[in-house]
Every structure is written in C-alpha cells, then in structure tokens.
C-alpha cells in the first residue's frame, strides 16, 4: 500500500493513522489532495 500513488479513504486512514476526529473533516481534505496528485501526475500529455 505504501507504494500506491492515489490512495482510497481507507488507505489514507491507515497510512496516516487518522483518529475518529481526523476522519470528520481532515480525511475529506486528504482525499481532495489525492485527487490533485492524480491531476498533476496525469497532466503529462
């Protein structure tokens, strides 16, 4: 999982050891960042 570039919510929870509090709002932000990582890395053409 460590090598996966764009991670799911479940993978983010595990990778960052997110608490229940973190999963209320921070997880949403992290998910948007993952989508942005995808956009940046897929903009090569």
């Amino acid at each position: 999982m460590d090598n996966k570039i764009v991670r799911t919510r479940e993978e983010l929870i595990e990778a960052y050891n997110l608490s229940e509090e973190d999963q209320v709002y921070l997880l949403d932000v992290f998910e948007k960042i993952e989508q942005e990582v995808f956009k940046m890395l897929s903009s090569h053409l």
Binding site: D2, I5, E21, V24, F30, V37
Partner: protein, 382 residues
C-alpha cells in the same frame, strides 16, 4: 466602496505615505485557533474545516471593530503540515501545533550547504523535515504542491469577503513571508540552540551560510508577482534570534544580511512588515541604519525608548501590552492606551496593536479587547 471602509483605507494610505492620518488605526493579530476555541469548537476536528474557520472569523469580526479584520480564516496550514508530516509543525494532544527545536542539518554539513544553499535545501532539508519523503522520495514534492494548492483554494477570497462585509480596511495586505537570513538558518536549517554554538565554533561558516540564505531569500522575493496597483503589499518578517545575542554579534552576524533582505523587499515595491520579537531594546540604535520605510512591530521595548530610537520615516506597531488586555481591569486597559498614545501618538506614525498574537481562547478577553479598540478610537484622534 463604503464610507467606513474608505475612511479606514485612507488612514492606512496616509500612514504608508508619510502623512499624519486622521486617527491612530487599531488592529489585532490572532490565530484562527483562538477564534475556534472561543466559540467552542475542537482544534482536533474543526481546525480542518475551512467553512467553520470562516464562520468563526465572521462572528469575531462582528464582535470586534478593529480597522482590519481581527482574524483571517486562512491563518493555518494545519492540513498541509499533517499531510506532508512536517516535523517543524507538530500537533500536540489538544491539536494545537508547536514548532519543535530540531536541527535538520549537522554542523559538518555547512560547507556543503554553503556550496549551493538552494540545492541543499531542496535535496536535503525539505526531505528530512517532511516525513512524506521517507516512504515516497520521488513523490514528496508533488504531494507537497498538491496539498498546498488544495488547502489554499479552500480559503481563497475569504479575507476579502470578510473585509467587505464588515467594512474593514483592505488597502494594505500581507502577501508573503520572509526571514532575516540568520533567523532562517537558526529556525529551519540548524536550530535555535545549535546556532548559538555554531557562531562561536565556526563563525566563518555561519557568515557564509547567512549570505547563502540571503541569496535564496532574495530570489524568492524577486520571483513574487509585482505589487498590485493601489494596494500596499507587505512582506512579513518575524525576527527571532537577535534579542539573545550581544549587540556586537548582531552587528557582525545578523544585521548585514537582514538589511539586505529589507532592501530587496523594498526594491521589488513591497513594504517590509517586521515583528521585532522579544526585547530589542539593546539593539535599537541599529534602526537608524535601516534603509527606507518599514512597519516595525515591537513586543517589549518601552514606548519612551521607541519614541527616541525609531526613525520617524517608519511606522511603529505593536507596543500595547497583551497581558493588560488578557487580565487587566477595564480602567487599566484605558489608562495604558492613553499612556502609549501620549508618548508615541505625536509622531503620527503609529498603529496600535497588542504586542503579542492571540493564539488560544484563554487569551481572548473580548470585553477588554473591545475596551482597547474603543480607547484608541477615543484618545487616538488627531
């Protein structure tokens, strides 16, 4: 534009162009964390919700009639720090972020740093400080850029919306941050404690590192977009280390490169907005040597000393004791405002602002802040 906003903008315009304004402006410096806590929100959870950050900043602006918005919703990069696992900004058990005194560069690495500071920062410092690089060295910068973009976009336009809604001044804006080169090395490359030892053990390396950090900082300033027409664009510099140094060491190690970064900021068309943290009383004579005009916010020196030592071409800010606002009686708040205005007001170059940042709810004595603002309005009219 509203009349109240126009009046506020005229005051700041006068101040920044060397004219005496119609009255002394009054501003506050505050973390969004303080506002969130004050309205009963959790830093562990709600600090990451940009809409809630806006909501509490809006509520506080409705309560506190300072000349600029009292708090920016965007005063936190907490989600970025968490995402990149930034070791310089680490949340405590209550969710409040602290800056640990860590040293990402060893003393024997100075020569390598001094050879090419930018490449050393990019290849060594950033990956050591942000633990996202540990598992993904090739993706670290992409993740960092993505996190900054996403978080920044969540807060875009909020400050302007609040300024318009609450009719606050918006003719001056802090558009970037910078560092005195010595502070940059102490805060981000070595550490507060090791830097003082380095200065004794390898003064030549430290001096060379300050020049390298200066070149890096100047390049960052030059890369910023040109100032927006009709707006006083400020670059904020929080100064850290000089109060812990002897004046002769400040003159040798700190001042030369600090003065050059100030000049570079001015040459780009920006106004340096400097926070002289802690007690700069022993070094105030150096201010005569500062180029041009800057906003000089002070934490500790007595107003009588500032009136004597700070050249009148500059704008003086801060000064008002935060401790009186936090725990003084109402009359003490009023009396202190009158006392400072009597000493520094005649210069016509004063912004009255508490000398420390409000960072937690315990700091927010809202009644006293209101009294402070009203006192400056009443006694600070020219």
């Amino acid at each position: 534009m509203s009349t109240k906003k126009e009046e506020r903008n005229q005051i700041f315009t006068d101040l920044f162009t060397g004219k005496r304004p119609s009255r002394i402006p009054v501003t506050l410096t505050m973390n969004i964390e303080a506002a969130l806590e004050y309205y009963g929100y959790s830093m562990l959870r709600d600090l990451y919700n940009s809409k809630l950050c806006y909501e509490v900043a809006d509520r506080l602006a409705a309560e506190l009639d300072s000349d600029l918005i009292p708090v920016s919703p965007a005063s936190t990069n907490a989600a970025v720090h968490r995402y990149v696992k930034n070791q310089f900004m680490v949340p405590g058990n209550d969710g409040f972020f602290q800056h640990p005194d860590i040293s990402p560069m060893e003393v024997d690495e100075y020569p390598e740093f001094n050879k090419n500071p930018f490449e050393f920062i990019v290849n060594k410092i950033v990956p050591r400080v942000n633990k996202v690089f540990d598992t993904e060295p090739d993706l670290g910068y992409i993740r960092m850029a993505a996190a900054k973009k996403v978080v920044n976009e969540q807060y875009i336009g909020m400050n302007q919306k609040l300024s318009d809604k609450h009719e606050r001044g918006d003719v001056s804006k802090i558009i970037a941050g910078a560092f005195a080169p010595f502070d940059y090395i102490a805060d981000y490359i070595r550490s507060f404690s090791t830097m003082m030892l380095d200065m004794r053990r390898r003064p030549d390396w430290v001096l060379e590192a300050c020049e390298g950090a200066l070149a890096y900082e100047v390049s960052k300033i030059q890369a910023l977009p040109d100032p927006q027409s009709g707006v006083f664009s400020e670059v904020f510099l929080p100064l850290h280390m000089a109060p812990y140094m002897r004046t002769k060491d400040v003159e040798k190690f700190y001042w030369p490169t600090y003065k050059k970064i100030i000049r570079a900021i001015q040459e780009k068309g920006f106004i340096p907005h400097v926070f002289y943290e802690n007690d700069w009383s022993p070094h105030l004579d150096l201010l005569e040597d500062m180029p041009g005009m800057h906003v000089a916010k002070f934490e500790s020196p007595a107003p009588e000393l500032l009136a004597k030592k700070v050249p009148s071409r500059n704008v003086i800010s801060g000064v008002y004791p935060f401790s009186i606002i936090r725990s003084g009686k109402k009359q003490e708040v009023i009396d202190e405002a009158k006392r400072i205005i009597d000493i520094l007001g005649p210069g016509g170059n004063l912004i009255l602002n508490p000398n420390k940042r409000f960072i937690r709810a315990a700091d927010l004595n809202v009644e006293n802040i209101r009294t402070f603002i009203e006192s400056v309005r009443e006694y600070g009219t020219y």
